[in-house]
Symmetry: C2
Subunit: 127 residues, 2 copies
DNA sequence: CAGTATCCTGTATGATACTG
DNA sequence: CAGTATCATACAGGATACTG
């Protein structure tokens, strides 16, 4: 039996929701960080530079909700909470890494293209 | 000479800007649509269900600015404008497709996980 | 430490109307 | 047809303060 063929180009396709989640600012970075192994909240906060406590919490909750990350609390003081990719979450690493790699490879070219584009736009007179 | 190793985990890394662009709601879908070959504005609008004229224009301008898409205007009435992936844009297809494929494969599981998660959350009493 | 709760702002996105 | 311009708004996301 084959998987029913969803069409992301249909606005009602649930894959749109998944795509939205995957495509948010922090998910890529958090999943990438967790690829190295389980991490505590504070370690993640340090690793993913610039993420606010709120956004990190929210991103992790969403990943947990989607079954991509597990959250383990150790009953001790001060509390210690570890996050780890699930099997499903681990499979996400591949496309994420592909994206990260692509980004690294093309970043320079893109920044240069932007510079060029903006330069030419600036030359155009105001209508 | 090797490429300088950028670190997307640093908040000042330009890759963050690239990642943001790639991760917006429509870019993945537009690039995916253009994978089939050059398309007119109206064809894209039809293919990418739910995108507004404004957002499609904006997405295409950004892709053009980044050197990932070319815009060709044919001087005729009514106007005809075709968009096509550049070589650079074509390379983006691979990671994008990987993401699309992953999404298709895991969508069901994710939706199920969400359902479960929300169910258990609903059981918890209000503090 | 690992959150939650609040407040506040900018930006992303949509709807609508107009034009070369 | 392929846009641009304008208006309106929801929500992402940051700053800050408090807590088990």
């Amino acid at each position: 039996m084959t998987v029913l063929e969803w069409d992301p180009y249909d606005r009602n396709c649930p894959s749109r929701q998944v795509l939205d989640r995957v495509g948010d600012r922090w998910t890529v970075l958090v999943v990438g960080a967790l690829a190295a192994g389980p991490m505590r909240f504070s370690e993640l906060a340090e690793r993913v530079d610039g993420v606010s406590q709120k956004m990190l919490t929210q991103t992790l909750r969403n990943l947990e909700r989607d079954g991509l990350v597990t959250r383990t609390m150790y009953a001790q003081i001060p509390p210690r909470v570890e996050y780890e990719l699930t099997d499903s979450g681990t499979t996400l690493q591949l496309p994420m890494k592909a994206l990260e790699d692509w980004t690294k490879e093309h970043m320079r070219g893109i920044m240069a293209a932007r510079y060029e584009y903006d330069l030419h736009k600036a030359e155009l007179p105001k209508p």
